[in-house]
């Protein structure tokens, strides 16, 4: 499942631009499926400046842990508080209720994969 209305990274994050110029990102369906049942999500604090392609949090499942990478540079304006009590939301709705971080980009929103390119990367379609 790779929605057309998002863009992607090779590290299995998706992002969408919002109407007011921020960017929301999370991990892809492929990533949540590979992790299995997600039990903890550690997200950056609001106000932190993220560097593109650097770790900014962790997703931990019963069997493994994986870092969350910032898809682009920017400042954290909001994180999904639901995930601290209901981390399994990332499994059930990775592109919707399971979103992770909203940032205000500090530069152009580029260097990303379109849906078709990400599908090719994960061997779908």
């Amino acid at each position: 499942m790779v929605p057309e209305d998002a863009r992607y990274t090779a590290q299995h994050e998706w992002l969408r631009e919002t109407a007011d110029g921020t960017v929301v990102f999370g991990i892809t369906d492929y990533a949540q499926d590979a992790l299995g049942d997600i039990v903890y999500v550690d997200l950056p604090a609001v106000g932190v400046a993220l560097t593109a392609h650097s770790p900014c949090g962790e997703v931990e499942s019963t069997k493994s842990v994986s870092e969350i990478y910032a898809p682009i540079a920017g400042e954290v304006v909001r994180v999904n508080a639901v995930l601290s009590d209901a981390p399994q939301t990332v499994n059930s709705d990775p592109y919707g209720e399971g979103w992770m971080v909203e940032i205000r980009p500090s530069g152009p929103v580029d260097g990303l994969l379109e849906a078709a390119a990400y599908r090719a990367l994960i061997g779908e379609g």
Partner: protein, 359 residues
């Protein structure tokens, strides 16, 4: 290297299981998801394919008496028709494998070793048996094993027409669709349950019947979270040729009064002197999951041990782990685990983390 496959391999792939290498075998880690499978076993009933485990027959005049001079636990604590948790140690007291010994009669036992240790167990027993008239036979290719575990396991066995209701750690022979089967009240989950041993050819049909009777297919991911909640050791983590039963808190599984067993002298000395480290449980105070090989520190920051197993407990909804700690650390103490550079607080416990319901 080509991974070995159990008789149920195509059942697993047909169910969409995530498969992974486990001790050289291509095994199902999970089907629907580890937490759902874990919960099915705790609250209902699940079925595991454990056909990767070994199956070794020990036969000959006085086979039990001979085996009792080799394995650590005292086989005379159980009678014919009973199974016993046991340990095969080397002369330095390290554990070659932990295993279940099924006492059939005085001249016949069979042993279920761990998958990746089966060859080592067979080799060690063969070496010990030289000149004794006892024969050791590796029959793992001929058989498969299903573990049906959970509070509703009796209903599943009854529905498929297998014997059930016998005492914990005892076993019964049966015929199932004209094949011999052995049904034992054993398991590795902490729940009431059965392990069924049957010829490889009948295992897929038996699996289908057990699943049709309502058992949820469960993978090795759930098997690991279930056994970790019980504090059951897993060889390669809490036991190894470098970790003795005294260190692992398994003094109850050693027949100390026996005149002979492999590793007796070293283990007796270690028990008298006190082990240099002890297996302890740890439970997270805050949100953190310990993982194998993470360092454990005391409250003042000095190194006191290492994590051997760790996971998120689906029952308790917190991080739990098993650790080998300095003997000065006691139950109730607080320790710190270095979780990828973050200092996470844990309370030292005496497992199980969750009450067992095996009986």
């Amino acid at each position: 290297m080509t991974l070995r496959q159990t008789p149920l391999h195509s059942r697993h792939t047909d169910l969409g299981a995530k498969m992974a290498d486990f001790g050289g075998w291509d095994m199902p880690i999970e089907y629907a998801g580890t937490v759902a499978e874990h919960t099915a076993v705790r609250e209902d009933v699940g079925v595991f394919d454990v056909s990767h485990m070994g199956y070794t027959e020990v036969t000959g005049p006085g086979a039990i008496a001979w085996l009792n001079t080799v394995v650590a636990n005292d086989l005379d604590r159980v009678g014919a028709g009973q199974a016993q948790y046991n340990l095969l140690c080397d002369e330095s007291g390290g554990v070659i494998d932990d295993l279940i010994v099924y006492r059939i009669d005085d001249d016949h036992a069979f042993i279920i070793p761990n998958a990746s240790n089966s060859d080592a167990v067979v080799a060690a027993l063969n070496a010990a048996a030289a000149g004794s008239g006892i024969s050791i036979a590796d029959k793992r290719e001929d058989y498969g094993i299903l573990a049906v575990q959970g509070p509703r396991s009796d209903a599943v066995l009854a529905a498929v027409g297998l014997p059930c209701g016998h005492d914990y750690m005892s076993f019964a022979f049966a015929k199932w669709q004209d094949s011999p089967a052995m049904v034992c009240r054993t398991g590795y989950t902490g729940e009431r349950g059965y392990e069924i041993l049957a010829p490889a050819a009948v295992i897929p049909v038996l699996w289908d019947a057990v699943v049709a009777a309502g058992a949820t297919p469960a993978g090795l991911g759930a098997r690991d979270t279930l056994r970790t909640e019980m504090g059951y050791p897993l060889h390669g983590h809490e036991l190894s040729v470098d970790i003795t039963p005294v260190q692992a808190g398994l003094v109850w599984a050693v027949g100390w009064d026996k005149p002979a067993f492999s590793g007796r002298e070293t283990l007796t000395s270690e028990r008298a002197a006190g082990p240099r480290r002890r297996l302890r449980g740890i439970a997270a105070v805050e949100r953190a999951i310990p993982r194998p090989d993470m360092p454990v520190l005391s409250a003042d920051g000095s190194s006191v041990g290492i994590v051997t197993s760790g996971t998120f407990s689906p029952t308790l909804k917190q991080g739990i782990g098993l650790t080998l700690l300095d003997p000065s650390i006691a139950e109730g103490d607080e320790v710190v685990v270095d979780v990828r550079g973050r200092q996470a607080r844990f309370t030292v416990t005496n497992p199980p983390f969750v009450p067992p319901h095996v009986r």
